[in-house]
Amino acid sequence: MPHRPPAPSPRVSRRRFLAGAGAVAGVATFGRAPAVIGQQVRELQVWHTEVEPQTVKVIQDTSIAEFEKKFPGFKVKQQALGWGDLNTKLLAALAAGSPPDLTHLNPFMTASLYTKNLLRPMDEVIRSVGENDIHEATRKLQFFDGKYYGITHAMGATYFCERRDLRVKKGLKAPETYADMLNLCAALTEDGRYAFQMPGEKLYMGFVHPAEWLAGNGGSWVDAKTWRPQLNSKAMLEILEYLQKLNKFQSQGWSGQKYLDTQAALATGKIAMSYLSGARAIGYIEKYAPENMRDPEHYMPMLRPHGPSGKVGMSALDGENWAVFSQSKYPNEAFEFLRLFYKKDYYLQYCHSVPIHLTPIFSSMLNDPAYLANERIKKWKAWHEVMLAGLKGNRFLPIGFTRPEDNTLPFLAELDGSSIVADMVVEVMVGGKNPKAEADRAQKRAEELLTQLGHKRWS
């Protein structure tokens, strides 16, 4: 769809008309217009998903401050959105014809928007911030047909967060395989404490984790050539059987609880491992765990085990990419803002606002003394090392990906939204249903969905 700037005159008259109607409402008595429709000031809208107040403040004080000094006519308006809200909000904004100028995107959304011609290439920005220094785990994720359509803001590994002290006491190694994991769980189950807990949100248990399971068991969402779903493949069936066994080691109410509940349960000693964790958990540990236990001797990341058909356990790399829409009003200013964002001094402060969770995307910075000279990174160095080990061992894939090539699939958002996979997982784990039957059902639904969406390539 070619981009047309909104024509001002009919819009104003319509607004007047509606405002006239609204005036009956006595809106005037409230002393202000009922709605913010358009802005007279030139405003650069920037959306991102780093909601921590300190992160918002750093962005405001560094890149935004300099940008506004450089471009006096502009105001930058940053909006920090909850991760789960991002997709819906963005699509709604796109539909309403007023997307932000610069935004975070989940990599699983990017392909979908790229194929609809909604994104702008940004090769120049990427070259100017140092193309070759960008870690290969993220560099080419938004590289389509020879051009870059996005750049990752920072990398955050996900993994289990375990009570290391409990496992050490049992003399057990970190699990390599599903079987190891089941043994570990059995050993860690004690009176009044469950071995682990998964987050109940569909987004996680029905999309993020299933992608990890498939990736760690030699499976994939769809066939690489035909895009036919692979939800009842051997890989998936093995996974489902494992999950059914695994489920005995967590609280039965888990599917009604949230990710944050699992973090709280870990910090307060109700579980020995939280299934989904990232370095953000450090913040919760430092706030909610007993005071003498707020350290890496007690709480440590643990990488995922792999399935019988896989070679190495995989987990999700949390890292949205910056993107600029083709409808963006001020694309050049958005690119300019990005250059400031990645300016070393500013970027370091950004990464330090939630240390380790926001790991820099530049290889040169990973062991840079300036980056490591942060109190929290010093104290939780072991967590940073898990991150480095995972990157080195290729054990991370972007959220929702089963293979690196999934970056070209334009239907992952819909697959997630349909809760087809989530239903399968819930029925098998919580409902105790037969894995084969549920997998077949999910397969049928997924085939129908892709057909309805016009992505059927198989026959």
Partner: protein, 291 residues
């Protein structure tokens, strides 16, 4: 009084404009949309005729959500009457503090759904909830119950909804009760009828028409209830077990991003209500309900 039809229409115009523009037009547009394959947010659409309707006829998800929706609407309906009618009868008696109680009873109905839902989530919380604490202490259960887990989520939903909506039954029923002429009861009392028989032979016939309306409206509203259901399970995997038709319709449009299919679900729901209402009218009565 001298009046001109033109001014009459003019005064009515704002109402008609709003209702026509924002209700009738969307309803018609919805029917039209249900014949298309349309992405929720992208501007492209292709005509597919009745394909969505044929699809849903054999879609197990549809029938599951129809089942959950009917269980939910049926159970909450019966319980709202079961709690609301006796409560209204009580509030129709004379006793001290009656007016205060009449006011207080309305509170659950007046607070926002989000508050009702969060409040019940807190009461039913499996670790710290008051309900589990009381049950365990009374020895009714041995271990805390996962009320918001898959086995009991429907129960939790029904409890929350009944608590939230029974005051509607109270108010509406009470309004009619208070207009029953006292002579009718006096005659019955003289005849020596027990309280139960007085209810059966005087109250019930007198309030039949209001009961008719209550059942009709509440069934429709419970069958199309969205926010309570959606908010209780949130994004949780457990929402599988309370995915009623309105939630499924919403999901098709806003998370599957298939607006055309979402629209056809809305049309199907409306058709179901229309048929059910027609049958209901035919079964029980045909006139003077809304007079």
């Amino acid at each position: 009084m001298r009046t001109s039809p033109f001014v009459g229409w003019l005064l009515l115009a704002p109402s008609l404009l709003l209702l026509g523009g924002l209700v009738v037009f969307p309803v018609l547009y919805n029917i039209w949309l249900s014949l298309f394959d349309k992405h929720a947010f992208m501007p492209v659409q292709t005509f597919v005729g009745l394909r969505h309707y044929r699809y849903f006829a054999s879609d197990p998800e549809f029938w599951t959500s129809f089942y959950y929706g009917s269980v939910y609407a049926g159970a909450t309906m019966v319980l709202q009457l079961g709690v609301g009618v006796p409560a209204a009868l009580l509030l129709n008696e004379a006793f001290r503090g009656r007016n205060l109680l009449r006011g207080v009873v309305l509170f659950p109905y007046m607070i926002p759904t989000i508050v009702a839902v969060i409040l019940w989530k807190w009461l039913l919380n499996d670790s710290y909830g008051l309900v589990n604490y009381l049950l365990v202490n009374a020895g009714a259960v041995r271990a805390p119950v996962a009320w918001l887990g898959p086995d009991y989520i429907m129960t939790a939903l029904i409890v929350t909804s009944v608590w939230q909506f029974f005051p509607f039954v109270v108010v509406t029923y009470l309004a009619r009760l208070s207009t029953i002429a006292p002579e009718l009861y006096e005659a019955a009392t003289v005849d020596g009828a027990s309280a139960w028989r007085r209810f059966l032979h005087v109250t019930l016939p007198q309030t039949a028409s209001v009961l008719f309306v209550i059942v009709l409206l509440r069934s429709i509203w419970m069958f199309t209830k969205f926010d309570t259901v959606w908010l209780l399970a949130g994004d949780g995997g457990v929402s599988r077990y309370i995915r009623t038709l309105p939630v499924y319709a919403y999901a098709r449009s806003f998370t599957y991003l298939q607006a055309g299919m979402g629209a056809s679900l809305a049309v199907i729901m409306f058709a179901m209500l229309l048929v059910a209402t027609a049958v209901y009218f035919r079964m029980f009565r045909s006139e003077e309900v809304f007079s």
